[in-house]
């Protein structure tokens, strides 16, 4: 018994998808081409170097922003990926995640800033984000495939949609939670809203914004695997293949590769924007500032014979 007639929302969505497909082919092709190009080129670039050399470079990066221990983990993890013979798909997944993250960050930070500064924008953006986040990913994979066929592009687009919300949310939160008195100080000394944003809100909100970007990357990685269903290359494709053939061994190895990539990206981006005294980068900066202070002290007191022997 249904007293309430079926409201054809699904049909509406289908019509909208059809309309976009029919009327905006140039736009869709442009998006598709550029994502395929970017992710493809980045993969080629990563594959240019011998796998072990690149693994070592990743380890150096880890040491720079985090610690020696992390560097060793990175080196071992990457070597494991090589030994499991999933290096190329891993690099494809990495490329896809990086391109998607880049685009998601480029979109989410300005939107987050607008939402933080304007209550109306915030009120509009919030339900949209909720929708994007809770709509099951497999559902919007369908129109994505219709729009962008298969390859990197649908994967990148699906990844962007899925990973965008935390970027926007945490940017908004990061800016809103900056101590209001400090923001007021910027205003009280005659700062423009741009000066206050650049000089106070962004730097002080950075840890939260970085946590958002970290979330974007982690969600992007999980989505990049889902994108395997629509034929996006990478570890996800292997996982979905293993699912179809019920191949535990292959599935496990690809899954392990994803875990290693995830930890690598998480710890790496988690370290940016946080004080990491154990990192080589921090040690280097300490030396630089010590040098600068010494120089300043010397210039203040140019007493002969009082030079500090270093």
């Amino acid at each position: 018994m249904s007293f309430i007639p079926h409201i054809p929302l699904g049909a509406g969505a289908e019509a909208a998808v059809d309309w976009i497909k029919a009327n905006l082919p140039v736009v869709l092709d442009a998006i598709s081409d550029s994502f395929n190009f970017l992710a493809g080129e980045l993969t080629d670039l990563l594959m240019l170097l011998p796998a072990l050399v690149l693994a070592a470079l990743f380890a150096v990066l880890g040491a720079w922003v985090r610690s020696w221990k992390f560097a060793i983990f990175v080196l071992l993890g990457m070597t494991l990926i090589i030994s499991m013979e999933v290096w190329e798909p891993a690099m494809q997944t990495l490329s896809m995640v990086l391109v998607a993250t880049l685009v998601a960050v480029i979109i989410s930070i300005p939107v987050g800033i607008l939402a933080a500064k304007n209550a109306t924008v915030s009120a509009i953006v919030r339900p949209v984000l909720d929708f994007m986040q809770t709509m099951p990913a497999l559902v919007y994979l369908v129109p994505v495939v219709i729009f962008f066929s298969i390859g990197f592009a649908p994967g990148v687009v699906a990844t962007i949609i899925f990973s965008l919300p935390p970027g926007v949310r945490l940017t908004e939160l990061g800016i809103r939670q900056v101590d209001s008195e400090t923001v007021e100080a910027g205003e009280a000394f005659g700062g423009t809203s741009g000066q206050i944003l650049r000089g106070i809100q962004l730097p002080l909100g950075l840890p939260t914004i970085m946590a958002g970007i970290n979330q974007v990357i982690m969600l992007g990685l999980s989505m990049a695997v889902m994108a395997g269903f629509v034929g996006a290359p990478g570890l996800g494709k292997i996982v979905t293949g293993a699912l179809a053939t019920v191949d535990v061994a292959v599935g496990f190895e690809a899954g392990l590769g994803i875990v290693i990539l995830a930890i690598f990206l998480d710890r790496l981006t988690g370290a940016i924007g946080q004080p990491t005294p154990g990192s080589i980068g921090a040690a280097w900066r300490r030396r630089q500032s010590a040098k600068a202070e010494l120089a300043a002290a010397k210039s203040r007191r140019p007493a002969p014979g009082a030079g500090v022997g270093v």
Binding site: A185, E187, A188, G190, G199, A296
Partner: protein, 411 residues
């Protein structure tokens, strides 16, 4: 021309605040506005701040002090009334005009310092100039100078997190000083500091003020702080200014019961000075006069001692009844030799420092100016009665019509 001049300044928070202004004009109370969802934070405030003055706004939490001060630099826009800074109306400035006001005329010191934690002390001190677009070299120089003024030489390279609370607020002060504005707003600037540090900062501010002569609008909820710092004090209650006056006026002539209740537990001995309680020197005799004139004066003023002054009004000493009577009996034409046991104090001496002198000497205290000339006396009874909280019957000030029972009870 006053540096700041507010007339009928009113600030109401809530939707369509103009309703509230109308209601207030029609005699509605703050509570009635509250029922309409409007908060009348400042109601009809009229005051002026003279150049070079420290003007203190004093009131309990929620009385509207912060709201008032934020109208002055346009962080809040008044709902009604006018506000002139240096004679220019700043009530409804466009954004660019507001920025110019804040960059060139009015700077601010904040309760919780509001320093930028990711920047060095030097960069923080230079922040106002940076916003203004002053070149790096110039603003660093100005910042260093300002840090020197507040006693933070050589700390420019440190981060605020490496400093103690008092030092951080010195940076906040340096930032406002480096901005180079004539007017400084200080919203509970010392309230977050320990009592001892706080006292130090007050001293520092007074010292700086003696050199720089800024116009300071200072907010506090601590009456002792208000009395120490303020040339004049505005007492606020529930959004209204209930009295404006010097510390002594507020103490001795409280305009309402609320004020007198407020000042009841002030340490009067530290606020009141000798100048405020001294009496006109009438029991005084010239050193060339004779003992008979002295006896006449004593009986006229019903006192047992007279201060003896020279032609230059400098205090020579004190003569007592017994000695004068003895001199008359001996037929002497000269005053007896004055006793030197007279304490001489300056008008600025706080009462707290007078008790020692009063205890040591039987005679009244002589208040003398910087040239040593007698300007007043403080009999010992006056000193004691000055400590008592004034009440209506004694000083004749009318009590507030809405006289409230608790105020009377608290005394």
């Amino acid at each position: 021309m006053p540096a700041i001049e507010a007339t009928g300044l009113t600030k109401i928070f809530g939707r369509r605040p103009q309703r509230g202004v109308k209601m207030l004009r029609e005699g509605a109370t703050r509570e009635q506005l509250m029922k309409e969802g409007l908060t009348a934070a400042v109601i009809d405030a009229t005051f002026d701040v003279q150049p070079g003055e420290i003007f203190v706004v004093m009131g309990l939490s929620g009385s509207g002090k912060s709201t008032l001060i934020r109208n002055v630099n346009g962080l809040l826009e008044p709902t009604a009334g006018t506000l002139l800074v240096d004679g220019d109306d700043v009530t409804h400035l466009p954004p660019a005009g507001l920025r110019a006001l804040r960059r060139n005329k009015v700077s601010m010191v904040f309760q919780h310092f509001a320093l930028l934690p990711h920047r060095t002390v030097g960069e923080n001190a230079a922040y106002a100039l940076e916003l203004k677009g002053v070149s790096k070299a110039d603003r660093e120089k100005a910042a260093e100078e300002a840090l020197g003024m507040v006693g933070l030489d050589g700390w420019g390279g440190h981060l605020p997190s490496e400093l103690s609370g008092g030092m951080r607020q010195r940076v906040g002060l340096a930032r406002a000083l480096a901005a180079g504005t004539e007017i400084m707003l200080m919203d509970e600037a010392f309230s977050a500091l320990d009592p001892l540090i706080r006292k130090e900062m007050q001293d520092q501010l007074l010292e700086l003020q003696a050199d720089l002569g800024k116009t300071i609008l200072f907010i506090t909820h601590d009456l002792n702080e208000a009395m120490r710092l303020g040339d004049r004090i505005a007492m606020m209650r529930d959004g209204k200014i209930v009295q404006i006056g010097t510390a002594e006026q507020i103490l001795n002539e409280p305009a309402t019961d609320y004020v007198s209740q407020f000042v009841a537990d002030v340490d009067r001995t530290r606020v009141l000075t000798a100048g405020a309680v001294m009496e006109r020197p009438v029991a005084v005799i010239g050193s060339e006069s004779g003992p008979r004139a002295a006896r006449k004066l004593m009986s006229e003023h019903q006192t047992s001692s007279l201060l003896v002054v020279g032609r230059d009004r400098k205090v020579v000493g004190v003569v007592w009844e017994d000695d004068v009577a003895e001199a008359i009996r001996q037929g002497s034409d000269n005053l007896p030799r004055p006793s030197r046991a007279v304490a001489q104090v300056s008008p600025e001496t706080p009462l707290a420092e007078l008790f020692g002198d009063a205890a040591e000497n039987r005679s009244p205290l002589a208040v003398v100016n910087e040239k040593g000339a007698l300007v007043g006396v403080i009999p010992r009874v006056t000193l004691l009665s000055a400590l008592a909280v004034p009440n209506g019957s004694e000083n004749g000030t009318s009590t507030d019509s809405e006289a409230d029972a608790t105020a009377g009870g608290a005394r």
